[in-house]
Structure formats: structure tokens, C-alpha cells
């Protein structure tokens, strides 16, 4: 279930085997989504034909979703090291050291296909799944972020998916008692048949509480905790995650899983008590591939084997087959590995929290995974053969024939629009407008840590009992990545880093969620490879380690792939917590408006302006500049830490015009912006941010900018009740009330 990056892994890279076109669909292994070559491989491993339950296990464990067979080779290129990295990719979540014995654990995951099939439950179980990845590490989950993408709201089905997904996140996240403090929402045609639902979770823990997904020494007992096992999402891992939507919609529906946030809440509290009292050797959550994954991965990590008795699994339905029990994706389950002497203590904790628990297996000294059911041996396979020995594909890459044309297809000789109208139109675009309609349905305040909440750039969460705060921003931009996957991949990392700096924090670690089309198409694999390089380059330039992630392929409908849409979640650290945390709402009348960043260049390629105004997506985004990025980040940090600015906002979607308008709207104060070339107002060139500051700080700000080696100039001031763009002779005026009303109601109006 997690990114396998082990470099020592021998890359026995193959061309993926294609089934003959006349493929006999009745062959069980094909019905389970295994290719003939993969089946051959199983025969080699076992030296005999697999039993049904064994085939079931291989099919889910070797699915794209669980084995990363198409992506592993590329993911190895990510920079994953830094002195503060405690656990890198490969475990359930990445873990970094934030000082004084405190660690932060985080991970991001997608639930795209399930959310398409059933938006409420798909999104809800996505939240449940990412939470388990984090508290499996010993951490208390403190916050969630959701990144959701849909087709245009003009289509009823997209409205249904959007509101269903938002309700699902609210329904599960609020009830499970973990605040959803931020995220991203975007709308593009390419997501119409194929919404993207990604969720990130952050947890904190004391160093001594860190737990890994290992089975421990022979004799260790496997205890299954939580919900009873039923026929939920049977085959979901291999089928839902690898079949494309058009088929999925109808046929796979019975595989829908239902989330139970109440069970998960009890499971969290029970597990945290187990960790506190040192009652477990290791823990593994049950997600995709359910029991198969929860017994094989920990055994493989421990280089051990395991005996599992399926009869002992507590079930919701009678007469389940061994295969069903092994593949079931029933939610809210955890596998704890416990030394025999402590089993009773563990069962007592489970009883106190009112969750079911059953002893289902035991770690053995060999390396075989042996599964019995009603007295019979239903499976006997090398544990590692399900995980480390999963197929690894080096799929062909091909630069798309159309990319050059796309680059040369930029809009030329545009004339200056009516600025007020153009801005209002952008503020009314669902992707740019206020997402308050979304985040006000999420509890984003629980735990009293949310010092900078939704509606700003990065979020800032204080860690009570310390002087630290963690900053998080999640960012993606399918349009830029479509135009240039390599630059796009780098640009989203730079945006996230700048968002984090807008709270005064220093970037510390990154998780990525790579949402792509069909990897069997060379252009898609090329986009994937390019994005990995782009993210790697930006992370290297900023010294940010990648500590985990997730890959979602086959995001296509009727053969049309989505834009390559990587999403990154960046965690930063700030200490001490700023006395007056910066917020977009903190600009006041009389303050200067500053712009920091490389001036000059203008590029509207991939900009919201071209998309919203002309429906145009073309041209080539500018190459990012690592040096300038570092300078912008360090200036942002200085301004916050020295209290020189109460309101900072990076220039991203919609360019300078929208960015400044967002501050004015949030602060309920007018602003006047001086400009020379109107295109400057809509260009989304990277490494730039605006900020509000007291007039008395001018000198110190200029010095700080010089010290950081980045241009910073005053481009206007806050006052009055209008948003005004001024050039000698010309003035464009949009009254704040209209701007604000339009921006705040853009989503609700379209959903009413």
C-alpha cells in the first residue's frame, strides 16, 4: 500500500505481458486482473498451480494499487534523505523529527475511483484510510487536508459528485474527531468522468511512541482489531483501482465499502492507548488488499513467516470463503502484533474501548505465509513473494506528438480587457472563488491548534505544550502539468513551499499523490516520468525530502486520460509560534501593498485568465528558478518572524489581481494597485508574493529584501471600499462589496 523505494531491490524489469486479444475471460487469473505473465510468475514461485485463495492474494497484492508495479522504478528518483527524516517512503506514513523528542507523521492518499462509484462513501472511506496510515505509526492524527477535483458544475452529475464528496469528508472527518483544516478544490473538463479525491493526514507523536509495520520475532501474536469482516469491496483493490471508469461504474458497484467513523474513533483511542502502554511490537492497518496485505507486509518486513487461522476472524456475514476473507476491504480494522505475554492486556484495552478483537495468527521462524480455514490449508506462499517480489514494470515512455504544438499554441496580441469585469469573472470562477462553502462544512477547529485555518495559504497548527507550530500546504495544478509535466511538477512544489513560508515556516518534508491516466500509454508514462523529475528537482533545490506518497493510475474515461495531476502536501516547521499569526484578513487601511519576487517577465501560459476568459489552455509555462524560490521563501519567513507583515499571500491562480483582491476581501478594506502592463495583473509567474505592511516598516522591509536577494517594491496601498487598478490616466474600479459577494457565493449559487 505504500511507495516501495528500496534501492537494493533488483530491477528485474520486464515489458508488461499483454493478454492475447482473444483472451479467454473465463480464466480465473484474468478475471482477477492478473496477466498471463504474472500467472506464469506465480507458477514459478510456487512450483505448482496456485490454490484459489492464493490466487486471490496475488491478484490484490500484485495489483497496480498495492504493488506500484508501473511506478516503483521512477519513484526511486525522489530525493528522500535529510538529517531529520526518521521514516522515509515504504512505511504507512513518512515521519520527520521536529525537535525536543517530537515527531510528525504524514501521508497523502487518493480515493478517486471509489468516489466516482459512490461519492459519499468513497470520500468517507478515503478519510478513514489515510487516518489509519497515520495512527498506525503511533501518531495521534491532528489534522486532515482534502484535494478534490471535478468536472464543470454546469453538469448535474458533477454537482452530485462534488456535494457528495464534500458531505462524505464532512460526515466522516467531523464524526471521527479529526479537523479538516485545508485543502484544494478545482474544476476542469478533464475531471468530468473522473473526479480526483485525495486526502492528506498529519499526526504528531513522541519519539518513543513510534511504531512500525513489522510483525516482530517468531512467536509474536497477530491480533485483529476493530470492525467485523464482511464482503466489502471484494476485489476492490485490484479491480476498482485498475479498471477504468466506464466499466467500473456499473459492474463494480457491489464492491462499495461503507465507512463507520464511530468505529474508527474508538479504534484510534484504543491503538493510542496500546502504544502509550507499549503493548505492541508492530501494527499494520487493513486497507486495500485487507488481510492479505496486513499479514504479508509485516511478515516480509520482519523477514519472517506467519500462520493465520481464518476461522478466528470475527465476521459480519456467514459463509464467507477463504478468498473473500483474505480480500475483504471492510473498513476500520487494524492488525496488532503482540508478544504472547501481553495479549490479554491488549484484549482488555480493546474491550474497554468497546471494539472487537480476535487473535488470528502467529509469526513463525520460516518465511512462509500459511493460511488455514476450517482445518484446511488454503494458502502456503512465501510472504515476501506477495510484496517485495511483486512484478516491476519498465513501461515504455513516449513524448506526446502534440506537445510541441501545444507549446507554440499561445495566445498572441491580446488587448487590455475591462479590468474590473475581467477580475470579477475570475473571482466568480469556481476554482478561484472562495471555498468557504466547502471548508465551513468541515470541523477545522477541533483540538484548538488551528492558528491559521482555511481561507489562507498554508495552514498553521500549534503543538500544545511546545513553542512549535507545523505549517502545511497542499497544492496541485493539472493545467500546468498538462502543458509541461516537468516544469509543472516543480512549480507545484515551489508553490507549496512558498505557501508554507507565508506562515513563517521552513519546509521540512513532502508527500505526493500522483494522479495519472493509463500507464499502458507511453505518453502517460512519459508525463509520469517528467513529473517525478520535476518534483525531484524542486525538492533537491529546496532541500526537501520526499517521505511518502501514493500513485493513482488509470484515471481515464472512455480512453480519455485526465491531465497529469500530481498533488503535493508539504509540511514545514516554525518556532517560536508567531505572536500574531499572519492571515489574509489582517490588512488594515493605511497599510502599504508590497510585491516581492522576480519582476519583469510575463507569461500567461496555463493561467486562469486565459482559461476563464478565452477557454484557452496552451503555450509553455516558464521554467522555475530554484535560487529565486529560496530567496522568496526566506523573505516570507523573515517578514513573519520579525512581525513586519500581518498578511501575506503568494501569487498563484488568477495572478496578482486575484491575489490582491483576496486580501482586500478577507480584510474588508479597499486597495489601490499601480501597474504598468495589464498582463502583469494576470500572469502567474512563480516565486512571487504580495503582502501588507505598516508604512513605518518600509526601511526594514527593503533591507530584509536586499538581505534575501530578492526584488520587493511597493505597488499600492490599502484604503477605502474599492479595488482599484491605476495607471497614469487610467483607473479601473471594482467595489469591494460586489467582489466579495460574488467570490463568496460562486459555489453556492451553482449548487442551489
Amino acid at each position: 500500500m505504500n511507495v516501495e523505494l528500496a534501492p537494493e531491490e533488483d530491477a528485474l524489469t520486464e515489458e508488461p505481458g499483454e493478454n492475447p486479444v482473444d483472451s479467454d475471460e473465463d480464466l480465473l487469473h484474468r478475471r482477477l486482473g492478473l496477466t498471463d505473465d504474472e500467472y506464469e510468475r506465480i507458477l514459478d514461485i510456487l512450483g505448482r498451480p496456485p490454490r484459489p485463495a492464493e490466487l486471490a492474494m496475488y491478484s490484490v497484492m500484485w495489483s497496480e494499487h498495492c504493488s506500484y508495479k508501473s511506478s516503483r522504478l521512477h519513484l526511486r528518483r525522489f530525493p528522500t534523505e535529510a538529517p531529520w527524516v526518521v521514516v522515509g517512503p515504504g512505511e504507512n506514513a513518512g515521519v520527520i523529527d521536529i525537535g525536543d523528542g517530537w515527531l510528525a507523521a504524514f501521508r497523502i492518499e487518493s480515493h478517486n475511483h471509489p468516489s466516482f462509484v459512490e461519492p459519499y462513501q468513497g470520500a468517507a472511506t478515503g478519510v478513514g484510510g489515510i487516518l489509519r496510515d497515520v495512527f498506525t505509526m503511533g501518531a495521534r492524527p491532528i489534522a486532515l487536508w482534502d484535494q478534490i477535483r471535478f468536472g464543470p458544475l454546469e453538469e448535474a452529475h458533477n454537482r452530485y459528485l462534488f456535494s457528495g464528496v464534500v458531505s462524505g469528508i464532512a460526515g466522516y472527518g467531523n464524526a471521527v474527531g479529526v479537523p479538516t483544516v485545508g485543502g484544494e478544490v478545482a474544476f476542469e473538463k478533464c475531471y468530468s468522468g473522473n473526479p480526483l479525491v485525495n486526502v492528506m493526514c498529519l499526526g504528531v507523536l513522541r519519539r518513543e511512541q513510534l511504531v512500525l509495520g513489522t510483525a516482530g520475532a517468531p512467536g509474536t501474536v497477530a491480533v485483529l482489531l476493530g470492525a467485523a469482516t464482511g464482503r466489502d469491496g471484494i476485489g476492490g483493490a485490484s479491480v476498482l483501482a485498475s479498471a477504468s471508469f466506464d466499466e467500473a461504474a456499473g459492474a463494480k458497484r457491489p464492491a462499495v465499502q461503507v465507512g463507520d467513523p464511530f468505529e474508527e474513533k474508538k479504534l484510534i483511542e484504543a491503538c493510542l492507548e496500546l502504544y502509550e502502554r507499549n503493548l505492541v511490537v508492530g501494527v499494520q492497518d487493513l486497507g486495500a488488499a485487507g488481510l492479505s496485505c496486513a499479514v504479508s507486509e509485516p511478515a516480509a518486513r520482519a523477514g519472517a513467516g506467519m500462520r493465520v487461522e481464518l476461522d478466528r476472524v470475527h465476521v459480519r456475514e456467514p459463509n464467507m470463503t477463504a478468498a473473500e476473507l483474505l480480500m475483504s476491504e471492510s473498513q476500520e480494522r487494524m492488525m496488532a502484533f503482540v508478544s504472547p505475554a501481553l495479549v490479554d492486556a491488549v484484549l482488555a484495552v480493546a474491550a474497554r474501548w468497546e471494539i472487537d478483537a480476535s487473535v488470528v495468527g502467529e509469526v513463525t521462524s520460516d518465511t512462509a505465509l500459511v493460511v488455514t480455514y476450517s482445518g484446511e490449508t488454503v494458502a502456503e506462499v512465501p510472504a515476501a513473494s506477495l510484496t517485495e517480489e511483486a512484478p516491476l514494470y519498465d513501461r515504455p515512455l513516449g513524448e506526446p506528438s502534440w506537445i510541441e504544438d501545444l507549446w507554440s499554441n499561445s495566445l498572441t496580441h491580446m488587448t487590455q480587457p475591462a479590468l474590473a469585469t475581467a477580475l470579477l469573472r475570475l473571482l466568480d470562477d469556481p476554482s478561484l472563488a472562495s471555498s468557504a462553502w466547502v471548508y465551513e462544512q468541515f470541523d477545522h477547529m477541533l483540538f484548538l491548534n488551528t492558528v491559521v485555518g482555511p481561507g489562507n495559504d498554508g495552514n498553521l497548527l500549534r503543538i500544545k505544550g511546545t513553542d512549535k507550530a507545523l505549517a502545511v500546504s497542499t497544492d496541485g495544478n493539472g493545467r500546468l502539468c498538462h502543458l509541461d509535466p516537468r516544469r509543472g511538477g516543480a512549480l507545484i512544489v515551489y508553490e507549496a513551499a512558498l505557501n508554507v513560508a507565508m506562515t513563517g515556516a521552513q519546509p521540512r518534508g513532502l508527500v505526493d499523490n500522483l494522479n495519472f491516466g493509463n500507464p499502458e500509454k507511453p505518453e502517460v508514462m512519459w508525463q509520469f516520468s517528467q513529473v517525478v523529475d520535476g518534483i525531484s528537482e524542486a525538492c533537491a533545490a529546496l532541500g526537501i525530502p520526499v517521505v511518502g506518497g501514493n500513485v493513482s493510475f488509470y484515471n481515464e474515461t472512455d480512453g480519455i486520460d485526465i491531465y497529469p495531476t500530481p498533488v503535493v502536501g508539504l509540511v514545514g516547521l516554525v518556532e517560536p509560534v508567531p505572536v500574531t499569526p499572519p492571515r489574509l484578513s489582517r490588512a488594515t487601511a493605511g497599510m502599504d501593498l508590497w510585491l516581492a519576487g522576480p519582476g519583469g517577465s510575463i507569461n500567461l501560459a496555463g493561467s486562469a485568465y486565459e482559461q476563464v476568459t478565452f477557454g484557452h489552455v496552451g503555450g509553455r509555462p516558464s521554467a522555475p528558478d530554484g535560487t529565486m524560490a529560496r530567496a522568496a521563501i526566506s523573505l516570507g519567513q523573515t517578514l513573519v518572524q520579525e512581525g513586519l507583515s500581518p498578511a501575506l499571500h503568494d501569487v498563484s491562480d488568477g495572478g496578482l489581481a486575484v491575489t490582491v483582491a483576496e486580501i482586500a476581501i478577507a480584510s474588508e478594506v479597499g486597495v489601490t494597485v499601480d501597474y504598468t502592463d495589464w498582463r502583469h495583473l494576470f500572469s502567474e509567474e512563480p516565486h512571487r508574493f504580495v503582502f501588507a505592511a505598516e508604512v513605518s516598516n518600509r526601511r526594514r522591509i527593503s533591507e530584509a529584501a536586499q538581505a534575501a536577494r530578492i526584488p520587493a517594491e511597493r505597488i499600492g496601498s490599502f484604503d477605502g471600499t474599492d479595488i482599484t487598478f491605476r495607471r497614469e490616466g487610467a483607473r479601473a474600479v471594482l467595489d469591494l462589496a460586489t467582489a466579495s459577494a460574488t467570490c463568496r457565493s460562486a459555489l453556492s449559487r451553482r449548487l442551489a
Binding site: 464532512a170 467531523n174 464524526a175 474527531g177 463507520d260 467513523p261 464511530f262 468505529e263 474513533k265 474508538k266 474501548w353 468497546e354 468557504a436 471548508y439 465551513e440 462544512q441 468541515f442 470541523d443 477545522h444 477547529m445 477541533l446 483540538f447 484548538l448 488551528t450 492558528v451 485555518g453 500549534r462 500544545k464 509560534v577 499569526p581
Partner: protein, 217 residues
């Protein structure tokens, strides 16, 4: 055991926030598990926010039968402060210790944002320190936040300045006749520090702490 008890039901999630906010005011607090039945010595008790028993069946419906609710009812009888916040308010209504019931918000959406409430009755354990007519900004965080009172017997302690969820008489907080049992939908503990956006909730928690100490016998 003295001080204020904060009850933990399976599914509660605001108990630690409540303890944090009360202790910041110098109060002594104790977490009380829902199966505990000995509250002797406690000066007051808070039923915190959250989703007791997952809000299944009806919000608060299952929690009201937890063993702890018997002694909570006795404390209410004896005149000691009993305060329910959000889910705690719902539980007190289900237990019919407070009048009315809480149903889904008018717009059928979860609402998490600061709202303005006006204190209209300062003769209760939660409002004694507040000025009559004081307008406080306190975060709301509920789906079943619409108070309805078919018999019209509820004593309204605070009103929403704007109609946010359809509550009858704009009731944001209601009390029993004696004023020692109060249920409130918005979360005072979430408005207890400037760094979190508002400290308007402190005055309510200070009232609770003062009346708890005052209730000692």
C-alpha cells in the same frame, strides 16, 4: 475529588479542548468515563462536544443511557452546574433534562464557523459573569443544531444574532428553570484565546468555574 468533571462518551472529541480551556482559567478538572457512576465531590460537570456513539439513531439518544447519566441527573437535581456543549446539549435534551430537541440544520449542511450570539439571560451558571445583552462571537460546529421546542417551555439563555440554522426563537443556549443546567450549541472553549481568533467564550467558562466553586457545600 473536587473540581469540574468532563464526561467522555465513546465518540466524544472535545473533552481535551474543554479541559485545556477550563484549566487555563485555573479550574481543576477530571475526565470522567461514561461508565463511571461516582461523581461525588465534583462541583460541576460538563458534557463536551463530539459524536457520542457516532450520533447514530439520534444524536445523544444512546449516550443518555450511559451509566454516568444517572449521577449527572442527580447533580442537576441538586442544583450543581451541569453544562452541555453541542453534543452535550443534544444529550441533555434527549435525557429530557432540558426542554426541546435538536434536529438537522435548516439548510441540511454541517456548519463550522464563528457566529454571533446575544446573551439574554444572565441568571444561569454559564452566563452569570456576562453582561445582559452582551454579543459574543463563538464558533458553531454542528449538523443537528436546530433547536425545536414543541411545548414552548424552553428557557432561552442566548440567541443567534442571525438565523443560522432555523432554531426556534433563535435559541443558541437554553437552561432549566433553576438555571443550573445549561445547554449551548456554539463552543465557548473554541473562543478562549485570541490566537485562535476570539476570546469571547471565556466569560461563559469563567461563569461556569465561579458557579462550580460557589456550589460547594
Amino acid at each position: 475529588m473536587s473540581g469540574i468533571g468532563v464526561v467522555v462518551f465513546p465518540g466524544s472529541n472535545c473533552e481535551h479542548d474543554m479541559v485545556w480551556a477550563l484549566e487555563a482559567l485555573g479550574a481543576e478538572t477530571h475526565l470522567v468515563w461514561h461508565r463511571d457512576t461516582d461523581l461525588s465531590g465534583l462541583d460541576g460537570v460538563v458534557l463536551p462536544g463530539g459524536f457520542a456513539h457516532g450520533d447514530y439513531l439520534r444524536t445523544g439518544a444512546i449516550a443518555r443511557f450511559s451509566p454516568v447519566m444517572a449521577p449527572v441527573a442527580e447533580m442537576a437535581e441538586s442544583g450543581k452546574p451541569v453544562v452541555g456543549i453541542c453534543n452535550g446539549f443534544q444529550i441533555l435534551c434527549e435525557a429530557q433534562i432540558l426542554a426541546g430537541a435538536l434536529i438537522a440544520n435548516r439548510d441540511l449542511r454541517f456548519i463550522c464557523r464563528p457566529v454571533e450570539i446575544e446573551v439574554v439571560d444572565t441568571d444561569t451558571v454559564l452566563t452569570s459573569a456576562a453582561e445582559p445583552g452582551a454579543v459574543l462571537t463563538i464558533p458553531l460546529n454542528s449538523y443537528e443544531g436546530q433547536h425545536c421546542d414543541p411545548d414552548g417551555t424552553a428557557r432561552v439563555v442566548a440567541r443567534y444574532v442571525e438565523d443560522v440554522n432555523g432554531s426556534q426563537n433563535l435559541a443558541a443556549a437554553v437552561a432549566n428553570a433553576r438555571g443550573n443546567v445549561v445547554g449551548i450549541m456554539p463552543h465557548p472553549e473554541r473562543a478562549s484565546e485570541e490566537i485562535l481568533g476570539s476570546a469571547d467564550g471565556r466569560i461563559l467558562l469563567e461563569s461556569l468555574v465561579a458557579s462550580s466553586v460557589g456550589s460547594r457545600t
